[in-house]
Every structure is written in structure tokens, then in C-alpha cells.
Amino acid sequence: MKTAIDVLVLDDNEDIATMIKTMLQMKQYKVATLIQPHKLLDTLEEYQPKVLLMDMLLANVDGRDLCARLKADSDFNTIKIIMMSAHPGASLDCEIAGSDYFISKPFEMKAMIALLEKAIGSI
């Protein structure tokens, strides 16, 4: 097990995942990325992130299902989840799935950092 990190970014679009990682590292966050959703549980165990930043529509998997499963699992339900989507109207769906926060794509860097601070601050 490695040292616990701040944020795990799960997005099946590698460019976006990398961009977010770059952006957050600029602000001194410890960040890891994950492209394949099926490795999520292993990755979470490996990195022990404080926050999971996750896209809603992933290849073959619905992020809302993942979110609901994590929130129901006592091993992971302390992880703060921020869901993001390029569907502007998806915030309510994500909230229903148990997501702590929502941000729509594309986003302002300032908004993303503010949300992350809020999520980590609430732990």
C-alpha cells in the first residue's frame, strides 16, 4: 500500500484525466488517475484517496451505479465523491445516486479547486 493520496480521478477519457491531474498537481494535490472503471475498487484500496473525482458516463459502466455501490460499502463510504458530467442536467441524478458534489464539464479551474477544497475540508 502506497501513501494515501488526496484525489483519484476516474475518467475513461485519458486526456481529461491527465488534464485534471496536471491542474490539481499545480495546486499541490496528490493525484492519481484511473481510466478503466473495473479496476476502481483495487485502485481505491491501493491509494486510499480522500476524494474520488469521477465521470458520470464511463465506458460500459454508469458512474451513478459505481457511486451508489461505494456509498453502500463500509470500506469506502468515507471517501468524498465528486461526480462530473458533460450532461448539464445530470446534477440531480448524481445527487440521488449519493454523490457528495457535482461539477459540469467543461468547468472553470477556480470552480474545480474550490469544490475540491470544500470536499477535503469537510472530512
Binding site: 481529461i16 488534464m19 485534471i20 458516463l57 458533460a86 464539464k105 467543461p106 468547468f107 472553470e108 477556480k110
Partner: protein
């Protein structure tokens, strides 16, 4: 008892003062002032007659002497009414006045020795008023003295008012009946079994009589009817005549096509009556001409048949409901689709085919249509016999009778599943397209911001300017994509609201903050703002405010001064965004909320956008049951407003 009265009573003990009211009245009357003289001097026959009438419960009256001085008993009081006591001791002439001439011959005849009966004599209870009349049988007889000559007369009155009134009522009701028969154009006849004779009214004879000659026997009438129904009519009358009292029958028959007379259809109703008084048992019957009614009925059946034939040949569902809204007919394709039978429809099983999620709204709208007699239009899912739901668009319209009452509802339902599928497909496509466009934009925007952050403090102006422009244009592109998505949602009516409770001040503060950040050159400030929580779609409401602010910045001289306010007025929460920009002409104001409408600026300045922002804003406000408007003057600036109803779902903040 004392004085004179006592002595009178002693002398004339034939009158017992306790015999009644009139006994006392006669005793106390000053007879000495009349032609009869004092009671002591009365003829013994008069005395005994007076005694007799006072003893009698029947109304009796005595007129004595040549002047006919009048006396009467208690029973006469109710007949005389207010003529008592003025009649007592008076002469006929005094009593009858000008009528005496008419009455005198009767009196004279009796006084010369004859008895007389007068039947049903009408006598007003209170003369010269509009009160009831009573009727009496009067018996006049002379009262003789020793000489054998009549010295007075006795009048006995028997009240026959009740009998007379009944007779009058009967006569009146007979009159009414014959009037009703005439008005209803009913031919009537009575058939007497004992001699096969019939007694008919005029209409009967004019309908069936050859040349106005009355028809006198049943047989003669039956010959006038078309065969073979005539035999059935004969049998019906025959059965009835042999049946019990009160036996009834009804039968339709026809008259044959004659040279002059057209074929007629008629309905005969009959009733057996028992023997009554001098009338032997008989059958009374009424005949009505139902030719026109039958014709209408046949026409209706014919048109109904044609309608059903047509309706059953249509692939669309056609249905009919009664005035109360219950289905009475479904066409063939509807029955086939649902697998229900005609009986099921009449048993009100129709609603079972409507999707459970649609039933409530369906019934609400349908009842509303029934109540207001307004057309029904609704989209709902109908279950097929295979258990599959398909979307249908139903319309129904009421049919009125001449009095404006709803007779029935004629409805149709069209399968719109393919349209719904296409809409859903299109909706999905646009939604996916917007998602796919936003995804690359996310990366671009992200890296631009990373680069700007990295080189913010550098001295490379070209790099800074380029990054700033890319950032701005990416923002524009994002806005365009989201507007297009909204527009498509509005067009499909699927711009759903996600209402939550939120703080208006907090929402406006955030919007103003973020807009100030986006437009650092503009001065955007918060004016008066209510501290209030409302139940609405926060995201959409801030979208409207952002749209107002964006427009204000776009159409203002630099640097723009914009003020955002919100307050409650007359039950409405009003939002306003005021600028000091170029203003909007009256002509442009009319169209500004229309789709794709763009206010053209000065030639050197163009304004980016599809011109759909305000249209979307208007739609969002409309969905919140609010209103949107503006006030503007060219060169002086504009204020855009929208308001939301402050309903029970709004709560004042602490």
C-alpha cells in the same frame, strides 16, 4: 233571571232558551215591531213549527204571513253567513231587495198550496265577495192553519256542495282530458263488447272513416287496417276485453297505402274498464300516429349503421361516450388492439387499458372536459392485448342537442408511438451530441486555464493574449452548445424543472460574483435583495439572471454598470437586471423574447450568439408560472424583469 225576560220565558215555555243560539235570538227579538206581533200573539201552528225547526239539526227556515217574515234555526247560520242576524224578523222584500222579483213566483206558488223542489241552488257564503259558493237542494212546503189555507211556508235546505263540486271537477277534468287528447293528436274510442260497437272521437273518424262517416263497429274499423297486423290488433283487443278489469295492452299496426291516404304507422294502447252506472264493461283505447317517429328512428339506425361501418373500417381508434363520460362504443380496431369486448367497454373496463402513470391526469382532464363541455386532448399510453403499452393521442368533442345539452362525446385515439420514439431518439441524439462536443472542450478549456495559470505572471504578451482569447471563445462555444440543448428540449417540451428550496440572496450573490469574474471590465453589483428561500429550479433561475447580465454587458458601452435586484411585490418575487446601455427600440422590444431574434447593433459592432438566450429565459420563467418583461429607452439603458409567483411553496427566510 229577572224582570221582563223571566215573565216572557214563563209565558212561552214552548221555547227553551237552552235549545240553542237561535232559540235565544228569537226569544230576545222585538217581535212586537214586526208584522208577526209579540210572541204571545203568534198562531199556535207557527209556535209549533218554530219549536220543530229549533229542534232540528237540518237547516230549516220559516217565512210566515203575507209579508213572509223570516225565522230560521241554528243549522241555517252556516248557510246565511253574514246575512244573519239581519235576516231574522225581516220580510222577503227587505231581504231579497231587487232580487225579490225573481224569487216571488216560487214563494207565491208555495203560498197558494204547492210544494216545490229546487236542485243545486247556488248560494254564496258571503255575498258580493269572491268567496266560495255552496250548493243546496231546497224543499219548499206550505204551512197551513185551521182554514186549510197556507199561512206561511217551510223551507228545508240540504247541503249538496260536496256532490256539486265533485260534478264540477269531473266536468272540468273531462274537458281537460278531451283538450289534451286533441292537443296530443290522439284518436280515441270506446269498444263495448256487448254489441261490438265503438264510440270514437272526431280524430278517429277522420283518420279511419271513409268520407267522414263515423265508424260504428270494431269489425268495420279492423277492415281499415293493413293485414296481417289487423288480426293481431283484433286479438289484442279481444284478449283485453276478456281480461281482468284494468288489463292493458299496447300494439303497433299500420294502415295500408290508400289512393288518397299514405301508409301510416300507428300505436294502439288499450285498457279494460268495468261496468259503471249505466255503462256496460268496455275497452277504452287511444291511437297515436307514430309514422314520423318511426321514420326518424329508422333514419337514426341507418345513420348509426353507416357511422359504425365507417368507424370500423378506420385504423384509428374511434369511441363514443355518453354525456356522463362512460364509454358506450369502441370501434373494431380499438377492440382488436385492446382485446376487450363490447360488453367489457359497457362495464366500464375501458380505463384499465390506460397506463397506471397516466390514469390520474387522464381522469382529471376528462372530468374537466365533461364539466366544462370543452374538447378533450390528451396523450396517454394504451395497453395492447399483448400487454405492450403504446402512446396514443386522444381527442374528443361533445355533441349537443337543440337545447345545448351534451348528448354524447365522440372521440378518436391515434397511435403516436413512432412520433414519440422519434422524439426520444432526437432528444437522445442532441443530448449525446452536446455531451460529445463538451468532452473535447473540457480538455481544451482545462489546458488553457492551466497554461494561463502557469504563465500569468510572465512577460509574453502574445501568449497571454492568445490564451485569454482561447479561454473566452471556449466559454462562448460551451454556452452555444448548452443553448442548443435547451432549445431542443423546449421544442420537445422536455425542459423539465428540478425544483429545490434555495436561498435567493445566496444564488444572486454567486451569480454576480461569477459574472464579475467573467467580465472584469464591467461593474456588476447587487442592489436590494430579499432574504428569501424559494422552491424553484435554482440552476434554471440563475441561468435567466446570467442571461440578463450577459445581454446587459453585451449591449452596454464599456465599462458597463449593471445592478441586480430582487424584491416582493403583490405576491410576486420580482428579479431585475438594470443597465445603462444602448437601450432597445420599441419595435425591437416587441420581438425580443422571440426565438432567433437579435437586436442589431451599430454597424461596427456585432453581437455573437444565436439569439435564443432570451427565448430560453422566457421559457424557463413560463415553466415556473412567472412572467418576463422589460423597460427600455434608446440611449438610456434597459431593465429586464421576471417574476415568480410567491406560492405556499415559498417560505420567508429567517
Amino acid at each position: 233571571m229577572s224582570g221582563k225576560r223571566a215573565s216572557v220565558l214563563d209565558s212561552f215555555s214552548f221555547l227553551d232558551v237552552d235549545k240553542g243560539f237561535m232559540a235565544r235570538a228569537i226569544l230576545e227579538y222585538p217581535w212586537e215591531t214586526t208584522a208577526l206581533g209579540s210572541i204571545e200573539s203568534w198562531h199556535p201552528n207557527l209556535k209549533s213549527m218554530v219549536q220543530m225547526i229549533l229542534d232540528n239539526p237540518i237547516a230549516m227556515y220559516i217565512a210566515w204571513g203575507p209579508e213572509h217574515t223570516h225565522l230560521y234555526n241554528d243549522a241555517c247560520l252556516s248557510i246565511l253567513g253574514n246575512r244573519h242576524p239581519s235576516s231574522l224578523g225581516k220580510t222577503s222584500q227587505e231581504i231579497f231587495g231587487s232580487d225579490w222579483e225573481n224569487v216571488q213566483p216560487t214563494f207565491d206558488a208555495v203560498m197558494t198550496g204547492g210544494s216545490m223542489m229546487v236542485h243545486d241552488f247556488k248560494f254564496e257564503v258571503a255575498p258580493h265577495t269572491s268567496g266560495d259558493s255552496n250548493y243546496y237542494n231546497l224543499a219548499f212546503s206550505p204551512i197551513r192553519i185551521e182554514s186549510g189555507k197556507p199561512a206561511g211556508m217551510l223551507l228545508i235546505a240540504k247541503d249538496v256542495t260536496a256532490k256539486k263540486r265533485m260534478e264540477l271537477a269531473l266536468a272540468q277534468s273531462n274537458e281537460r282530458l278531451s283538450f289534451a287528447l286533441e292537443a296530443a293528436e290522439l284518436a280515441t274510442f270506446e269498444y263495448f263488447m256487448k254489441d261490438d260497437s265503438i264510440l270514437a272521437n272526431e280524430l278517429f273518424n277522420s283518420w279511419f272513416g271513409g268520407d267522414g262517416a263515423p265508424i260504428l263497429t270494431l269489425e268495420a274499423w279492423l277492415e281499415k287496417l293493413a293485414k296481417p297486423k289487423a288480426a293481431l290488433v283484433a286479438a289484442a283487443i279481444n284478449d283485453c276485453s276478456k281480461g281482468q278489469e284494468g288489463a292493458r295492452f299496447e300494439i303497433d299496426f299500420e294502415t295500408p297505402e290508400g289512393t288518397e291516404k299514405a301508409r301510416k304507422e300507428m300505436r294502439l294502447k288499450g285498457l279494460k274498464l268495468p261496468a259503471l252506472g249505466d255503462r256496460s264493461p268496455r275497452v277504452i283505447a287511444a291511437i297515436e300516429d307514430i309514422t314520423a317517429e318511426k321514420l326518424e328512428q329508422r333514419k337514426l339506425i341507418e345513420s348509426e349503421k353507416r357511422f359504425r361501418l365507417l368507424a370500423d373500417s378506420l385504423p384509428e381508434f374511434v369511441w363514443i361516450a355518453d354525456a356522463q363520460g362512460a364509454s358506450i362504443y369502441w370501434n373494431k380496431s380499438m377492440l382488436e388492439y385492446t382485446g376487450l369486448s363490447e360488453a367489457d367497454v359497457k362495464l366500464r373496463k375501458g380505463i384499465s387499458i390506460v397506463h397506471p402513470d397516466d390514469v390520474e391526469a387522464n381522469m382529471k382532464l376528462w372530468n374537466n372536459s365533461l364539466l366544462n363541455m370543452k374538447d378533450f386532448l390528451f396523450e396517454h399510453r394504451f395497453k395492447s392485448k399483448e400487454g405492450v403499452y403504446r402512446w396514443h393521442l386522444s381527442r374528443a368533442t361533445p355533441q349537443f342537442d337543440d337545447e345545448g345539452n351534451v348528448q354524447r362525446w365522440v372521440g378518436s385515439s391515434t397511435d403516436i408511438q413512432s412520433i414519440k420514439d422519434k422524439e426520444a431518439h432526437k432528444d437522445f441524439f442532441i443530448s449525446m451530441a452536446s455531451h460529445e462536443l463538451n468532452t473535447p472542450l473540457t480538455t481544451v478549456k482545462g489546458y488553457v486555464q492551466i497554461l494561463r495559470e502557469t504563465y500569468m505572471n510572465g512577460s509574453d504578451d502574445l501568449l497571454n493574449m492568445s490564451l485569454k482569447t482561447i479561454d473566452k471563445q471556449v466559454a462562448t462555444l460551451t454556452k452555444l452548445i448548452s443553448d442548443l440543448l435547451d432549445l431542443s428540449k423546449i421544442r420537445m417540451g422536455s425542459l423539465g424543472l428540478e425544483c429545490t428550496e434555495f436561498d435567493v440572496r445566496k444564488m444572486l450573490t454567486e451569480v454576480v460574483c461569477s459574472m464579475s469574474h467573467s467580465y472584469p471590465d464591467a461593474s456588476i453589483e447587487l442592489g436590494r435583495v430579499e432574504t428569501l428561500k424559494i422552491f424553484a429550479d435554482e440552476c434554471r433561475i440563475s441561468q435567466v439572471v446570467i442571461n440578463f447580465i450577459t445581454n446587459a454587458v453585451k449591449y452596454s458601452h464599456s465599462p458597463a454598470a449593471i445592478r441586480v435586484s430582487s424584491w416582493i411585490d403583490e405576491g410576486q418575487l420580482i428579479f431585475s437586471v438594470k443597465d445603462d446601455g444602448i437601450g432597445i427600440s420599441a419595435e425591437d422590444q416587441k420581438h425580443i423574447f422571440e426565438r432567433f431574434y437579435r437586436v442589431e447593433g451599430k454597424s461596427e459592432k456585432t453581437f455573437p450568439g444565436f439569439g435564443i438566450g432570451l427565448n430560453i429565459a422566457a421559457e424557463i420563467v413560463k415553466q415556473h408560472n412567472g412572467k418576463i418583461w422589460l423597460e427600455s429607452e434608446l440611449g438610456k439603458g434597459s431593465t429586464f424583469y421576471f417574476c415568480l409567483p410567491v406560492s405556499s411553496s415559498f417560505t420567508l427566510g429567517k
